[in-house]
Amino acid sequence: MSYEPTIVGFLCNWCSYSGADLAGTSRIQYPPNIRIIRVMCSARVDPTFVLKALRDGADGVLVCGCHPGDCHYSEGNYKTMRRFPLLKKLLADYGIEDERVRLEWVSASEGQRFADIVSDMTEKLRALGPSPVKADLAHDAVER
Amino acid sequence: MAIRVNPQLIDELEAYGAEDVSKCYHCGNCSAMCPFSQGDTIFPRRAMRQLQLGLEERLQGNLDPWLCYYCGECSEECPRDAEPGETMMSLRRWLTARYDWTGIARAFYRSWKTEVLAVVVTALLTGIAFLLWGFSQGSIGDYDGANAFLPASKVHIFDWALAGVLLFFLLSNCGRMWWFTLGKDERTRFAVGSYLRRLYLLPAHFFTQMRYAKCTRKRPWAVHLVLMLSYVTMLVLIMFFLRYMASGPAVDWRVHAFGLTAAAGLLATTIWALRGRIKKTETHYRHSHESDWMFLILLIVVTSTGVLQFALHRSGFDTAANIAYVIHLMGVVPMLGLEVPFGKWAHLAYRPLAMYFAAVQADALRARERSQVPVGAAQTA
């Protein structure tokens, strides 16, 4: 049986979520592996969400916000931009592969871009294989 | 190499009756509904576009105007009232003027005064000449016989002379037409084979007007065919059987049967056309250039006087018959001498020629495409 990755996407309401909606209204097809969660701004994405998603079995996490300079809240996406390198350091130390967590800028007019990102990420995760986190922790509980 | 346009051309064409062509924005409705516009041809729009742009050379070498018989449907369908039909008509006038090396045609088309003047003067001269000559031949009381005022045998010779002059001008202009359309184009200049193969089209189109018959509307074609056949019949009779027509108390029915039918045909159609143009009954009668009126007036005059003199002579009024005859000739001479080579009549030669040339052109183009096929294939491969 072939493995299908599950991606949890945190999209900012103003640009990226609208962009994803635009992909819909323009019927641009992309893999159904992503599950989108709407937040008002990418800056609302607490790194805890990312860890939680991985903990609960996500194979990848995608965070999307407005392009730098275009944030509906003027600077929210810069806050996300600052957070990500640190989050990546943390994840690397926990042995999470870099490809699993991704930050992208998608504007309200970039339905195609959003679809491309999801397709690309899905491809990469298929190649990478399932995330070990959930299984590992289940295993830890039964065998020390 | 870019072609230099002549912005004035479109103004020049106004004198020939093309007034609305600038309105055309090439939506293609006319091409869509014209039966002559097949496949990717842009008939009648190509010529209209060349006219709008002022591509004089291209236009002069374009046969399209002759391929149109002016059924008038395009003009009716045109969303912008650009009158494609009438534009083609005007282009035919313009081309006639272009083909004519003497410049007479141009003068006639551009100013009806000149035309009328020329016709009137010629008529008067003819009148005077025949009167003087008549009195030197016999008595005005005699229509035929030894003492005939205008002896058919001699008039016959005059006819031939006139025909000679007419043919000279007409043929030389046809020569120019060939040069403009095919001669200049090295692809078609020496296509001897195709010239021979297609030759049959000349008589075919001349006598049947078969292309006209293809138009959606049949009536104009019928009328035109009757007119044209009657005219040709009459021409033949005059050229070869004049003596029998004017012959003696005894009626030669072999000739008269034709003569009278032709006369009837001519009268009927001419009157139909005149009525049409006055009442603007049909699209192709909506616009009338001076030359159209001249054409019909001369025709009706000549036909009626012809019939008249016959009637008078048969009913024994020879003097009156002779006078009618002179008037008849006063119409015939300007008609044949001026209108046929330099006026609307010329199309009796240009049209069939155009069909013929068009066929040759088509052959040439097809041959060219065939020769290009491998190239095309190579490109697509």
């Binding site: 800056a43 509906h72 806050k79 | -």
Partner: protein, 573 residues
């Protein structure tokens, strides 16, 4: 409490829009099994009246306390369903939508996978809604005055409507005169009426209007606050410099456009050939009543070239919309000014979309304008004419309609330069906090349903700053903006979304990490209590501070950690 919770789940088929890919019944059945779900239905059109009725009835009959609608994007119908459940007496915030159309059925074709995804999204919505709390809308007073940025035809029209309704308007114009780009124009297509007359009436009314405070030679320096309560600082530099701050409730941005710089295009010889000029330079000639070449001669041949900088991948791909009719107008004006002059109009397509435009096009053809069509990627080329060409320049065009490469004479060439966003559109966008599209035009809140408002509440756009527009369209949009604002003023109070951030003062340790973060300076630090707190009216609920608060003392109403955790568990369960 999950025990007694009663959630209603409604799966919309959206005709076949959702149902053709997603098995809506299966989604509903799956939802029915979830904890707290009292009823789960699938229906043709949830947004239809019967659809909403169904929800309302269920709420009443089964006394549901929470509702999930799995349908289109919440950006589309959340307000609809919030109203619906409100009618049934539920707090509007006890609703959650699952986006199974835009983000599922429309973008996926595999029914199995799509149905799985739709089920997951619906599950997430159920988990989430179970953690929703009822929230109360707040209303604040709003200042009835309006700030209009830009004194062009759009700005003035909006200002007049607002002022006529009896409200104060501050009209800020950078130049020392009103009128904007229209003031640079002679006659107007398609009726060839005078732009001057049109403007004079507007300008005099604006200048004399007691409710309009015209600030010429001035710029807006900063805009603080939020809808209903903005504070703008206006700085005037020319004349006697001043800086004043005005209180306004709404803002209309009508900053217009600037024309494309023709010298960016080399192949038309603009700047090198003296008689190649732009449309605006020609307007100037017309206004001065002298149509002539640089050498002062009357042109015999005038050529007009369309789409200069527009519909061109190298410059702007969009159509500038006004040039076609303006070009036709020139044909008329040239013929009028120089009788017997030949005008050729070199175009790609003739865009005659507006009222009276098609007739105008026809009339222009009747005055014997020579229309030459060139292909989008095959522009004409202009060169200096030789001594015996009898004209200044020759234009070579590959003419599409004839298929010929032709050469037309020209003494004067007019380049129809397109419109582009002003150089400072980016600063303006930041100033009023709105977004720009890829070309730099301001983005409206909805391209079809709300082309006047922006994503920032209280900021409206009018005229060509949004996209190239002709005068009627600009004025229409301007007056629509005015109407929108008047409608709001009429309501007196201003309903503000109940979604905002809150600091739990018992948990705040006063570390002040959040203070720096708020783009709306909605977070205040109370030196007394040594706690931070949020001014809810200023808060726009972005949640940046919530994520940043190291002690978890800030909650985002309606986007709490709990609710989002629930959603994560939902999509992954």
């Amino acid at each position: 409490m999950d025990g007694e919770m009663k959630i209603g789940v409604y799966v919309c088929n959206c005709g076949t829009n959702i149902a053709k890919v997603v098995d809506c019944d299966a989604v509903a059945e799956a939802a029915a099994q979830l904890p707290g779900v009292a009823v789960a239905r699938s229906y043709k059109y949830m947004c239809s009246n019967p659809g909403q009725e169904m929800i309302i009835q269920d709420i009443r009959d089964l006394d549901l306390d929470r509702v999930v609608v799995a349908a289109c994007s919440p950006r589309m119908h959340e307000p609809t369903f919030r109203k619906a459940i409100q009618q049934a007496g539920l707090n509007p915030y006890l609703l959650e939508m699952a986006n199974i159309r835009e983000q599922c059925s429309w973008v996926h074709s595999d029914p199995v996978m799509a149905t799985q995804k739709a089920t997951a999204l619906t599950r997430a919505a159920v988990y989430r809604v179970a953690r929703h709390q009822p929230l109360e809308q707040r209303s604040v007073d709003l200042c009835p005055d309006t700030l209009v940025i830009g004194g062009g035809i759009a700005g003035m029209s909006a200002a007049l409507d607002l002022a006529d309704a009896g409200y104060k308007v501050y009209l800020v114009e950078r130049e020392d005169h009103l009128g904007g780009n229209v003031a640079r124009v002679d006659l107007l297509a398609p009726y060839l009426d005078s732009a001057r007359d049109l403007l004079t009436e507007r300008i005099t009314r604006v200048m004399e209007h007691q409710n309009i405070d015209v600030l010429l030679g001035a710029e807006v320096e900063s805009l603080e606050g939020f809808v209903g309560n903005f504070t703008a600082t206006v700085r005037g530099q020319n004349g006697s410099p001043f800086r004043r701050s005005v209180e306004v409730g709404n803002v209309i941005v009508a900053t217009g456009y600037k024309e494309f710089d023709a010298s960016r295009i080399t192949y038309y010889g603009y700047g090198k050939l003296p008689n190649v000029i732009t449309s605006f330079e020609f307007e100037k000639m017309l206004r001065q009543g002298r149509v002539q070449t640089k050498e002062g001669r009357l042109p015999r041949y005038v050529a007009i070239i369309h789409c200069v900088g527009s519909r061109n991948p190298e410059y702007h791909t969009y159509c500038s919309r006004v040039c076609c009719m303006t070009a036709l107008k020139y044909a008329h004006e040239v013929k009028a000014a120089v009788p017997g002059c030949y005008v050729s109009d070199v175009y790609i397509d003739m865009h005659a979309f507006g009222k009276g435009h098609e007739d105008f096009y026809r009339r222009s053809a009747e005055v014997k304008t020579l229309f030459l069509m060139y292909a989008k990627n095959d522009h004409p080329v202009i060169r200096k004419a030789g001594p015996n060409d009898g004209c200044e320049m020759l234009i070579e065009v590959n003419e599409c309609l004839s298929g010929e490469t032709i050469e037309i004479p020209a003494d004067l060439v007019i380049l129809m330069v397109g419109m582009e966003p002003r150089e400072d559109s980016e600063q303006v966008a930041h100033l009023v906090n709105i977004s720009r599209d890829k070309d730099g035009w301001f983005i409206e809140s909805h391209p079809k349903l709300d082309p006047v408002a922006t994503t920032t509440d209280g900021i409206y756009i009018a005229g060509a700053c949004q996209f190239p527009k002709d005068i009627p369209d600009s004025v229409a949009q301007a007056r629509a903006a005015a109407a929108r604002i008047l409608a709001r003023i009429a309501r007196g109070k201003l309903e503000i979304d109940a979604v905002f951030a809150e600091v739990d003062e018992d948990r705040c340790s006063g570390c002040r990490v959040c203070n720096e973060l708020c783009p709306y300076s909605a977070i205040e630090f109370d030196e007394e209590k040594r706690r931070s707190h949020v001014i809810s009216a200023l808060c726009k609920a972005c949640g940046a501070c919530v994520a940043a608060c190291p002690s978890g003392a800030i909650t985002a109403r309606h986007f709490t950690d709990d609710q989002i955790f629930a959603e994560i568990e939902g999509v992954l369960a």
